[in-house]
């Protein structure tokens, strides 16, 4: 295990000094890699570990983004604070969703549909609220300052998103090795068997959902202040929800590093396909590639790419199977 930590520390160091050598454009790609790794990880905490599948996670992104933006534009509240208020709101909404889903025993596909329904309802409702931009969306003013969570260039965003990603990885690892995390896995493996041992499945499912929702919504605030434009169809849309889950699935659900690996694989892919196929505006090609890759992974590498990478690096890193 020690060797793995050294390896990761090395990678982290490289990532920390990289901005000295990269231009704004490439830094921007990294920002997206870290961002998607972060929100993928947040989703992973719910779905990868407890097994409840959410296809409506964009809901929490939107809640975070809109809450902090609205508070900033209306009351001048710094998004750093607004972010946590958004997080709180996301938790409340997720508790409502979880209550309906878990108390009424909605399992499998029914739970998936519930998550989609919640995201869609929110999307439609927000589209009708004038104060939130209604159908035109909100443009954020660009007034860079730390307080405003806005920065010139991409260096600051790079470090912030890197921070988010690293924190998410640490949180996930802590959960995984804790009592809560083990109950979550038990629920995923066999909820009834877990209950027969005394595990309160409802309670721990709710905890996982709450943590996931909170973390995801923080990402929403970051996103809003990086992209400077919010629209309900984007922020709450199924497209975002789907893109969000692809990286953890490709990388490896239910693992600590899977979502990170997945993001490092998929996110650059979209940039490459955009650069090489930009003539004739083959917009959407990267999504076609994502889709095909995802299907292949699910069919042939069900547990994600991480397991294979681990096997590959085993001789050097002496990872061994029981790295828990």
């Amino acid at each position: 295990m020690k060797r793995l930590y050294v390896f990761l520390a090395l990678l982290l160091t490289i990532l920390l000094i990289l901005p000295l050598f990269l231009d704004k454009y490439v830094l921007g790609i990294f920002v997206m890699i870290f961002f998607f790794a972060y929100i993928g990880q947040s989703w992973n905490i719910l779905t990868g570990y407890t097994g409840h599948i959410s296809l409506g996670h964009a809901l929490y992104l939107g809640v975070g983004a809109y809450t902090s933006t609205y508070l900033a534009q209306t009351y001048g509240l710094s998004p750093w604070i607004g972010m946590f208020i958004g997080g709180g709101l996301a938790v409340i909404i997720s508790m409502f969703l979880g209550f309906l889903g878990f108390r009424f025993g909605l399992r499998g596909v029914y739970f998936v549909i519930l998550t989609i329904a919640f995201a869609e309802i929110t999307r439609l409702l927000v589209s009708h609220i004038e104060a939130l931009g209604s159908f035109s969306g909100i443009f954020l003013d660009f007034s860079p300052s730390f307080k405003n969570f806005q920065f010139r260039g991409n260096k600051a965003y790079y470090y912030i998103s890197l921070c988010f990603m690293v924190l998410a990885v640490i949180v996930t690892r802590l959960i995984e090795t804790s009592r809560i995390g083990r109950f979550m896995v038990a629920i995923r493996e066999d909820e009834e068997a877990a209950e027969s041992l005394g595990v309160n499945a409802f309670k721990y499912s709710m905890i996982a959902l709450g943590i996931s929702a909170f973390m995801t919504s923080l990402g929403g605030t970051f996103y809003a202040n990086f992209i400077y434009y919010l629209h309900p169809n984007i922020m709450f849309g199924m497209n975002f929800s789907i893109e969000l889950i692809l990286r953890p699935i490709v990388g490896g659900m239910g693992t600590v590093l899977g979502p990170v690996l997945g993001s490092f694989i998929l996110t650059p892919l979209s940039e490459i396909s955009r650069v090489y196929f930009s003539k004739g505006g083959l917009e959407g090609l990267h999504l076609v590639l994502y889709g095909i890759l995802t299907v292949l992974i699910v069919l042939f590498m069900r547990r994600g790419v991480l397991v294979y990478v681990q096997k590959l690096l085993n001789p050097i890193l002496k990872l061994e199977d029981e790295s828990k």
Partner: protein, 243 residues
């Protein structure tokens, strides 16, 4: 005070009355056997006792406390543990981690839970596979895992559902030894069993049910000779052929 008792337990599925008006009690430190032909309603009894199914009528009392309306996980936390007829291991995690899930219910510290799980591992004889994923275990060892997991929750009563099914005679004997050991630690055992050797060797008392109704109760050697019991298992023709 009995460890576990139930009065007038009844359960129907649609029009079919699976269990009718059953009374039973398990004394502290006792081993009670539940036998009967297939479809007699034995697993239904267990499911009702452990609160996986709601009873239509009747009461279940655990160490003097009415648990009739409690949730399954609460009942388990109180000390009533069960295994499943078709074993349900947590397949993708290791044997040790499986047991730790049980241990962590009562033990908050992961470190201590791990230590407790290790000793249970040794008790059931699974140390050599402690880090293998549960999916790699063959059936007899999965049964041991299921029991180990239940034991880790520090139960006062253990409900075992056909733990000897599918085992060869040597394995049955080993299991009998293990169960006696567990019982000596103070855990009352209620077991559903088809393997008669196990029932005879372990039970202080045996209850026989057929079509959801109790037809006999008493020490194992008496019950086995009971005419009604023989008829239930082997049919009227056999009985009349005996004369």
């Amino acid at each position: 005070m009995n460890a576990l008792e139930t009065n007038a337990l009844s359960k129907s599925f649609g029009g079919l009355k699976a269990v009718s008006d059953l009374d039973l009690s398990l004394g502290q430190g006792e081993i009670l056997g539940l036998i009967g032909p297939n479809g007699a309603g034995k697993t239904t009894v267990f499911n009702c006792l452990s609160r996986f199914l709601p009873m239509d009528s009747g009461q279940t009392i655990f160490y003097g406390r009415d648990i009739t309306d409690l949730k399954p996980h609460v009942v388990s936390q109180l000390g009533l543990a069960r295994t499943f007829q078709i074993v349900r291991p947590f397949l993708t995690i290791s044997v040790l981690e499986n047991i730790m899930v049980g241990a962590l219910v009562k033990e908050k510290s992961v470190k201590k839970a791990k230590a407790q799980s290790m000793s249970i591992l040794e008790l059931v004889g699974l140390e050599d596979v402690k880090d293998r994923p549960a999916s790699e275990l063959p059936l007899p060892r999965r049964k041991r895992l299921e029991m180990a997991r239940a034991l880790a929750t520090k139960p006062k009563v253990l409900l075992l559902d056909e733990v000897m099914a599918g085992l060869n005679p040597t394995e049955v004997d080993e299991l009998i030894v293990l169960l006696k050991k567990i019982n000596r630690q103070g855990i009352s055992i209620f077991l559903i069993e088809h393997v008669m050797r196990g029932v005879m060797a372990l039970s202080n008392r045996v209850i026989v049910i057929n079509y959801g109704v109790k037809i006999a109760e008493g020490p194992p050697d008496e019950v086995v000779k009971n005419k009604q019991v023989v008829e239930a298992y082997l049919g009227k023709e056999f009985l009349s052929a005996q004369g």
